[in-house]
Amino acid sequence: MSDKDLQKTESTAVTEKVRNVKTFVPRVDIYETKDALFLIADMPGVDEKTVDVELEKNILTISGRVENGKIKDYSLVFSEYEVGDYERTFTLSDEIDREKIKATVKQGVLRLQLPKAEKVKPKKITINVA
């Protein structure tokens, strides 16, 4: 089965977990505009309290905790997804202005705005008539 077919892909990272839940790799879109890079991650079930964005050196880690949605006394009829935490890491280049990174969460979607540093923004050089 290809990863693309699944809404969530389980993380294959070999680190010991403190919480006994599955960890998924959220799907992301990354795009660049003139002034910034945008990272958008689908993390259904997280809100602003349970999502974490960390930047250590040049490693950006996004993670989210989702409380287990097990409901007692109900039997499962049909299951297509599992509930678990999210984690994914990215390596940032020096072109990002680390001080100005903005993060928002809305309807289970994390949105990061990573502004480019002034020095790497494309500049148009005006040509003067000599």
């Binding site: 290809s2 259904p44 079930g45």
Partner: protein, 165 residues
């Protein structure tokens, strides 16, 4: 549409425990997945091409007890006004659209793993349900629908006592 419903074939739903591991069913599912993957497996397809193919299909969990069904669907990034939940006598239809924001026109994509588009899932349910008593709420990208089962419908069948002669 057929492709999306296929994974929710009623016969699979009715026999969740016994047949799900049966080799024939798993083979059938594998085949279905294979075909679905073939058409959905483009990570970065040209937009026009992807629009029709790499549609967004929400994952659904269905749970039940004696009194009610709980249906959960993962709909990250969908606005509640774009979700439409319809309950019929024996099924629930979740329709909606995940819209792609078009704020910045000048986008250069590096990763495009998320998918957008309209979706429609028909979830067939085993027991008759009371369509008037359905509740739905949407929080953090997860839709939660609670539907009571019709208690009267369950009592329709009359139990026949067996006598030993």
């Amino acid at each position: 549409m057929i492709m999306k419903i296929r994974s929710l074939l009623p016969d699979v739903v009715r026999k969740p425990t016994t047949d799900i591991d049966h080799p024939f069913y798993s083979l059938q599912r594998e085949m279905n997945n294979l075909f679905d993957n073939f058409f959905r497996g483009f990570t970065v397809a040209p937009r026009g091409f992807a629009a029709g193919m790499a549609d967004f299909t929400p994952s659904v969990d269905v749970k039940e007890n004696d009194k009610e069904y709980i249906i959960k669907a993962e709909l990250p990034g969908v606005e509640e006004k774009d979700i439409d939940v319809t309950v019929t006598n024996d099924s629930v239809i979740i329709k909606g659209e995940k819209k792609e924001e078009k704020k910045d026109k000048d986008k250069n994509y590096y990763y495009m793993e998320r998918s957008y588009g309209s979706f429609c899932r028909v979830i067939p349910l085993d027991a008759e349900i009371e369509s008037g008593k359905a509740q739905a709420n949407f929080k953090n990208g997860i839709l939660n629908v609670k539907i009571s089962k019709n208690q009267k419908a369950k009592e329709k069948g009359t139990k026949v006592p067996i006598k030993t002669s």
